[in-house]
């Protein structure tokens, strides 16, 4: 007989600007999994409300080794405190997300175990997975899936199994300051990773000039790829958004003046 389990979390509400940052991060590369942390609050109704996300660097880039170090969790908590001060809301780290490029959206047994471990620290901690770069060869239709889950101990054995948690993306017209900052953090993190790798290589002894020139070219080439595929398009989107907002501001100011005149006439 199956006994229904009452989870600590009934649903997840994800603000649309935070969703945009998550998806942008997930779609930044189809060669490896990316990850980040979710910042928000848990409401009395057992709903986890995610307001923003923090993009993280992966120290271990092996397949299916998406793990957050204690230092990263600590840094994220500090960031959550900063957000709490800024928004006057009780913000904290409420979950994590990672991507599954070219693979199924369902969490692997490693993911389920990792989630279970986080839940030991906080029973309201949730996991999000974004499956992307999936294509139906016949119809040439592309597909992106996302899911939300928690872990629960299996009824038989000591293993864990996933529990699906309903997730809703809350529409929001404006983009929050925190989400904008997170969005521009991605190219900075990518550049930092590349610079760290190059510095380690360049510091190796006994490399002849040709090797150094080659490595320099590799660094130049990789940085150019980042500028072309990440920074450039992001800058274009920001400029378009700015132009759109400036147009809206003009229209709203005109309408405001018109309404004030009408009120004065009454």
């Amino acid at each position: 007989m199956c006994v229904p389990i009452l989870m600590a979390v009934s649903a997840v509400h994800l603000e649309s600007d935070a969703f945009l940052v998550c998806m942008n991060h997930a779609l930044s590369t189809e060669k490896e999994e990316v990850m980040g942390l979710c910042i928000g609050e848990v409401e009395v109704s057992r709903i986890v409300h995610i307001h923003s996300v923090i993009i993280l660097r992966r120290s271990d880039k092996r397949k299916d080794r998406v793990e957050i170090s204690p230092e990263q969790l600590s840094a994220a908590s500090t960031e959550a405190e900063r957000l709490a001060d800024m928004t006057s809301r009780p913000m904290r780290v409420v979950g994590w997300y990672h991507s599954h490029p070219h693979i199924t959206v369902w969490p692997s047994h490693v993911d389920v175990r990792t989630q279970a471990m986080y839940q030991m620290l906080d029973q309201c901690f949730v996991g999000l997975i974004f499956s992307c770069f999936i294509e139906d060869k016949n119809t040439k239709t592309g597909r992106v899936l996302y899911t939300c889950f928690q872990s629960v101990q299996a009824q038989k054995g000591s293993e864990y199994e996933r529990v699906e948690i309903p997730i809703h993306v809350l529409p929001r017209e404006a983009i929050g300051k925190v989400c904008l900052e997170s969005a521009v953090e991605l190219p900075r993190i990518l550049c930092q990773e590349e610079q760290d790798t190059y510095r380690k290589i360049h510091s190796l002894a006994h490399l002849d000039p040709v090797t150094k020139i080659h490595n320099g070219s590799v660094f130049t080439k990789n940085l150019c790829s980042q500028m072309s595929a990440v920074s450039g398009p992001l800058l274009q989107w920001l400029e378009d958004r700015l132009e759109q907002n400036q147009q809206s501001i003009l229209e709203l100011q005109r309408e405001k003046e018109k309404l004030m005149q009408e009120l004065a006439a009454l």
Binding site: N24, K31, V230
Partner: protein
């Protein structure tokens, strides 16, 4: 031997833009379309012509102004990844209106995969039309993974040739700074730093504009509400503010429909339920037409309005009432003092009965 022509069509879209299309329901996409032709000439085989059609989606407009339009997009929740009849018509009309035979249509369809809503799917594809026949083209989301990542060399291939070392020393200064760092690496780092600075600056500008838009939207909304309320109050005060509010429209409707019916006229009635004749103190001579209706006339008109059965009953009651009307005044007073508008029999009058 006849040659062959192969056509390959792809749509490139940046991921941020792709995501934004899922937010706005309908709009136009701007960018660049390129057609590259590659001809392969071979002695043994016939010529092959390979045509590569590439559509680079760079910007979108959520249904606003037109500029370098290469296509349009639509987002439809919980629906099939197929163009509707309307979309096909719109596409053909846009092609002719903008004189662009190579327009693309990007369709995005988000759906809920599982009933509790824990998993969601977002599908997307691009369509082009050739001779009114619509076909799918693959969509590539540009990302770092598409660009080939070269790996660093961690060891050098050993070479002890004297000429090799001489060449390195001769040309080395063109590549390396005095500090030993590569000039190219320095320059590309500076360029990247400038781009990051631009990103940060634009991000700050966008953030300020977002807050300003939010603030203006709140102000405009408050002003609209205030104006609506003031207008509403003004309409009320247009009538006499001391008078109680009247439903004029209802009044007019009643007058129009029921004006001639005496049954719906306000009347003063006796204890017997008969209308009281309207006797004025004015003794000026009036003609029979102008004379106020008497109680008899009222009863007659009432009877005329009633159906047959009611009319007979009414006639009998009227005869009885006419007798009672002649009752002495002190008895009338007693009935009125009883406070009850009903017919009293002699026994009721003694017992003070009523309803």
């Amino acid at each position: 031997m006849a040659g062959s022509v192969m056509k390959n069509t792809t749509t490139n879209i940046h991921r941020f833009l792709y995501l934004v299309l899922f937010i706005h329901q309908e709009g136009l996409i701007l960018g660049e379309s390129r057609f590259d032709e590659q001809v392969t000439i071979s002695d043994s085989q016939a010529d092959h012509i390979h045509i590569e059609e590439t559509y680079n989606v760079q910007k979108h407009i959520a249904c606003h102004r037109l500029n370098t339009v290469i296509g349009w997009y639509r987002q439809r929740r919980n629906s099939e990844q197929q163009m509707t009849f309307r979309e096909k018509l719109v596409h053909e009309n846009l092609k002719s209106a903008l004189s662009n035979p190579h327009m693309i249509f990007v369709l995005l369809t988000p759906t809920k995969t599982t009933p509790p809503g824990s998993t969601h799917r977002m599908e997307y594809s691009a369509f082009i039309s050739r001779s009114r026949h619509f076909m799918n083209v693959p969509v590539l989301i540009t990302n770092l993974g598409l660009l080939e990542q070269l790996s660093y060399w961690k060891v050098s291939a050993p070479c002890s040739a004297a000429g090799y070392s001489l060449t390195m020393k001769k040309h080395g200064s063109k590549f390396f700074c005095s500090s030993g760092l590569l000039k190219e690496v320095n320059e590309v780092n500076k360029m990247n730093d400038s781009l990051q600075a631009e990103l940060q600056k634009t991000c700050r500008d966008v953030e300020e504009s977002e807050r300003l838009v939010e603030m203006l939207q709140t102000e405009v909304s408050a002003l609209r509400t205030k104006l609506r309320e003031r207008r509403g109050k003004r309409k009320c005060h247009a009538a006499d503010p001391c008078e109680p509010r009247k439903n004029r429209l209802l009044q007019e409707a009643v007058r129009a429909l029921l004006a001639s019916s005496p049954l719906f006229h306000t009347q003063t009635l006796t204890l017997q339920g008969l209308p009281v004749p309207d006797h004025t103190d004015d003794i000026s001579i009036t003609t029979a037409r102008e004379a106020p209706p008497s109680a008899t006339n009222y009863r007659k008109r009432l009877r005329e309005m009633l159906p047959e059965k009611e009319r007979k009953r009414s006639t009998q009651e009227t005869s009885r009432n006419e007798e009672e009307c002649c009752r002495p005044a002190e008895e009338d007073d007693a009935w009125q003092r009883s406070g009850s508008f009903c017919r009293f029999t002699d026994s009721d009058a003694e017992g003070g009965g009523g309803f």
